[in-house]
């Protein structure tokens, strides 16, 4: 797990989970769109699991996947 990188994690400054007051780290998260489930490594709070998705990811890779799934 040490070699995992979350999209957008390197380019941004440190993100802190307000609830737990710990730094968010790249961890796997589960997503669902149009009845299809998939996993991807994003920034998450190691304590509560809260997910952080930066805009570049939402409007980049995620948008591409959404468009692909819409055609399936």
């Amino acid at each position: 797990m040490t070699d995992r990188k979350a999209d957008g994690a390197e380019t941004r400054s440190r993100r802190i989970c307000e609830l737990c007051d710990v730094e968010m780290t790249p961890l796997e998260a589960q997503f669902n769109y149009l009845n299809r489930t998939f996993k991807h490594v994003v920034l998450r709070c190691p304590r509560c699991g809260q997910v952080y998705i930066p805009e570049e990811l939402a409007e980049g890779r995620m948008r591409e996947v959404e468009k692909t799934l819409e055609e399936k």
Binding site: S13, I16, C17, Q30, F31, L43, P46, E55, E70
Partner: protein, 860 residues
């Protein structure tokens, strides 16, 4: 009829593959479009190959062809000089070698009687297929009658060139008089091409077993040197000798059966296929070398200025001197096209006839570069039950892209209706729960808002309410209710107020019905929701005393006529045109010299409606000029069918095409057209804006709700948020002004306010995110504390899924605890799942055990 399959049958009649007129009339059925395309591109060798493959002997045919293509060319004044192009290609091509097919020799033997063009044509085809070919010629030369027409050397050169890789035997001075002569020599098939008046071997009157003329079979005489005529069996159907091993096929063609010149050659070339088929299958078939085309050429293709600009230079039949100037390609003397540039110029004139009406007018086929049969196949495959893992779903986005404007059927000579098929496809997909919700979600929610408490208004005409019996000479003898449609009030509520005031000022009892016509539900394919909406409209109408609805939106009219034919509906424009003999001269003239009326697609065939709008514009002092394409083929602005989420590129593509149709500013009477054009930077006005400009608004009609009206921009297009607020504003003002009622909008209140700058507002609007949704997310974040802090900037961000969509906000705290500075908003369609069971560390049982979501220590 909601199944896609019910709409597919007419697609079988699609004419896209019909050959052009010239190809159908050509003795060789040359693929003229292909030839012209290649010739025009300067690909002289490939054009030559196309031509040579069709005609067999290119040098000869380009000289002697009577060019029957000319008589059917739609460019009547100056048909395409195809023969001149052919001669030019023959002259320009530097590689004229025939194809050398490396295929094994066949052991079947073919005899050809006569070495004229027809016999040589057959010999060429059969030799190329590597049959054993022997030609019996009664004279000492080849060419037959062709030598009388042209220099025999031309044909000889063709023969020499085209046969250079082929083997055949020719017997000169050998006259064949009876079939038995050749039957005895062990041939499997014979082609009699003895020319006009030549010996016919009984073939002239022969009718084959399949009903084709000029063909018969003889039984093979095993072990006999000479077969007599008495042994001939011309029709052995039922005797079990259908296979060609036992029979010799005899066929006649060319001048012998009356086909002269190039037609004789065409017979010979076709005979290559006929003999080949006979030898392979034993079937005695000799189809007529004619075919018809059902080609439909859209008349607009002939309006192309290219074909009109240069008038005919004279009768093409006249002999011309060899000094015809360049570009005068209509000449027949063979020198008309002497350069590649002239060849290209002539090729450019060719219309490339094909039935492409749909491609000319339907933006969907244009955008996707697909023909109706392909779209049919893709819709069929996509709507088949089954998941995408086991079958293709090629038309998912395409189906949600169609504008549903109906122009495809309008222009199709075969009544192919792609729009209906696609609507049925959307419904099928919805039933199967396979439509991506994102494609239609925004507009379905928008419709729900329009029909909800905050925006829907249903007020009877006063007369209907009080049941007074004032004489009403108006048509249908009943009262009226204004039905502006859901979008005009969202876009410009004051315009609705001014129009309503004008309608009431005519002394008529006019109620009002604010709501949606159900089109978004129809377009989304949600049949149930659509039916419920129609039912609710009918109930509203009954409650109002069954007034005649005066609709401002042509789409509402179209949908009512289709789904609610019992409800009387009239356009507000016709009503106004009847009631307003002249418009107040005080109306300021719009600042343009001339305008073009852009007829919305839904107004197609509504002649009284179109006439009323034009009459109103003229009454307002507007000079009108027509658009180049109008009337029955009025097309969509890009809004119809709501493709903007499924395919935003397409929506822009269509809008830009419509805008490019004229430099004039547009007057339209569908507010969506106006908004689409205005968004794209085109000057356009709604006809009601011209009739009732803002200055005409009575002062007492402006009891503006300060907060809501303050949200409305003075200029520019309202955002999606403002469009909702506008509807609330409209309902509130109408209630207050005409019914003295106060309305309290049902909107959630929050204990904070957001500062959103204009750039961010514009960004949110582009993504069709409502500010109310942003408030909802920020509220959730402040209540739960589920936020992420950027350590460098201190800004907070977090998300909440509202409906299907997941919205992310970024904001900063200010000095005031109830005021936040919004810095960013974005959204994604996929949802984040099982956030507190991340990474396998926390087991699913943790959730089932009832622990608080997202809280607690993972180690406990």
């Amino acid at each position: 009829m909601h199944r896609p399959e019910d709409h597919m049958k007419p697609f079988n009649n699609c004419l896209m593959r019909e050959p052009p007129f010239c190809t159908a009339n050509c003795p060789f059925h040359l693929d003229v479009s292909d030839f012209v395309e290649k010739a025009g591109k300067g690909l002289h060798n490939t054009a030559f190959r196309t031509y040579r493959n069709a005609v067999g002997f290119p040098r000869t045919v380009s000289r002697i062809c009577p060019a029957p293509c000319k008589s059917v060319c739609p460019l009547r004044g100056r048909p395409i000089a195809l023969r001149d192009m052919e001669q030019a290609v023959v002259a320009f091509a530097d590689d004229t070698r025939p194809n050398n097919y490396n295929i094994p020799h066949r052991n079947r033997r073919v005899a050809i009687i006569g070495a004229g063009v027809s016999g040589m044509g057959c010999a060429l085809r059969m030799a190329a297929k590597k049959y054993h070919v022997e030609i019996f010629e009664s004279t000492d030369r080849i060419g037959g009658r062709i030598a009388r027409t042209i220099d025999a050397e031309v044909f000889l050169k063709d023969v020499e060139e085209q046969f250079q890789y082929e083997e055949y035997t020719i017997h000169f001075n050998r006259t064949i008089r009876t079939r038995s002569e050749l039957n005895a020599l062990g041939f499997d098939a014979v082609y009699a091409a003895t020319g006009k008046g030549g010996h016919d071997f009984g073939l002239m009157d022969a009718v084959g077993e399949n009903g084709d003329l000029h063909c018969l079979t003889d039984e093979k005489m095993a072990g006999r040197a000479h077969g007599g005529e008495e042994n001939v069996l011309s029709d052995r159907a039922g005797l079990g000798v259908g296979r060609s091993e036992h029979r010799i096929g005899w066929f006649a063609g060319g001048g012998l059966i009356g086909d002269e010149s190039v037609y004789a050659l065409a017979d010979g070339l076709l005979m290559g296929n006929v003999l080949d088929a006979f030898l392979k299958t034993g079937n005695l078939l000799w189809p007529k070398n004619r075919f018809e085309t059902k080609m439909y050429l859209n008349p607009r293709k002939l309006e192309d200025p290219v074909s009109e600009s240069d008038p005919p230079t004279g009768s093409g039949e006249e002999n011309r001197s060899s000094c015809d100037c360049a570009g005068n390609a209509a000449s027949h003397d063979g020198t008309a096209i002497s350069t590649a540039a002239e060849l290209k110029a002539e090729a450019d004139r060719c219309l490339r006839c094909r039935c492409d009406s749909c491609r000319m007018f339907c933006d969907l086929t244009d955008f996707f570069n697909k023909w109706p049969p392909r779209i049919r196949d893709e819709v069929f495959a996509t709507t088949l039950p089954g998941s995408a893992e086991v079958k293709a779903t090629p038309a998912k986005r395409l189906m949600s892209t169609c504008n549903q404007c109906g122009v495809c059927r309008e222009v199709c000579p075969e009544d192919i209706d792609m729009g209906r098929l696609i609507l049925a496809g959307r419904r099928s997909m919805h039933r199967q729960e396979k439509v991506p919700w994102f494609f239609h979600d925004f507009w379905v929610r928008d419709m729900e808002f329009s029909d909800g408490e905050n925006a829907r208004l249903c007020k009877s005409p006063i007369a209907a309410e009080s049941a007074t019996s004032r004489p009403r000479p108006e048509r249908r003898g009943n009262a009226f209710a204004f039905f502006p449609g859901c979008q005009i009030g969202a876009s410009d509520p004051d315009l609705v107020l001014r129009t309503y005031a004008a309608l009431r000022a005519t002394g008529q009892d006019v109620g009002i019905l604010l709501r949606c016509c159900g089109a978004p539900a129809e377009w989304s394919g949600d049949d149930g929701k659509h039916r419920a909406c129609l039912q609710s409209i009918t109930e509203d109408w009954r409650r109002m005393g069954k007034p005649t609805l005066l609709a401002a939106c042509p789409t509402c009219i179209k949908k009512f006529r289709e789904y609610l034919p019992a409800l009387p509906i009239l356009s507000v424009y016709e009503a106004l045109d009847d009631r307003l003999p002249s418009l107040a001269p005080a109306n300021p003239k719009p600042a343009a010299d001339a305008w073009a009326i852009f007829d919305p697609c839904s107004a197609r065939h509504r002649e009284p409606l179109k006439a009323a709008v034009r009459s109103l514009a003229r009454k307002a002092g507007i000079a009108l000029k027509p658009l180049p394409i109008q009337d029955d083929i009025a097309r969509c602005c890009g809004f119809g069918g709501q493709p903007a989420a499924a395919n935003p590129e397409y929506a822009r593509f269509v809008a830009e095409k419509r805008i490019a149709e004229s430099a004039l500013p547009y007057i339209t009477y569908c507010v969506n057209c106006r908004d689409v054009f205005t968004d794209a930077g085109k000057a356009s006005k709604h006809i009601l804006e011209i009739l009732f400009p803002p200055e005409t608004q009575p002062a007492n009609d402006r009891p503006a709700d300060e907060r809501l009206s303050g949200d409305r921009p003075a200029h520019g297009q309202p955002t999606v948020t403002e469009r909702r607020n506008n509807r609330i504003y409209l309902k509130r003002n109408l209630l207050k002004t005409y019914w003295g009622e106060d309305m309290q909008p049902q909107q959630p209140t929050y204990g904070f306010e957001l500062v959103i700058d204009d750039a961010l507002k514009a960004k949110i609007n582009r993504q069709r995110i409502l500010e109310s949704e942003v408030y909802e997310v920020v509220d959730f974040l402040t209540r739960t504390g589920r936020r992420v802090r950027n350590e460098t900037t201190g800004s907070l961000s977090g998300y909440k899924q509202v409906g299907h969509m997941t919205y992310w906000v970024e904001y900063r705290k200010t000095d005031r605890p109830d005021l936040f500075l919004l810095t960013n908003v974005y959204a994604h369609r996929m949802s984040i799942e099982r956030e507190n069971m991340w990474n396998g560390v926390r087991p699913e049982e943790y959730l089932r055990g009832g622990k608080a979501y997202g809280r607690g220590d993972p180690d406990d």
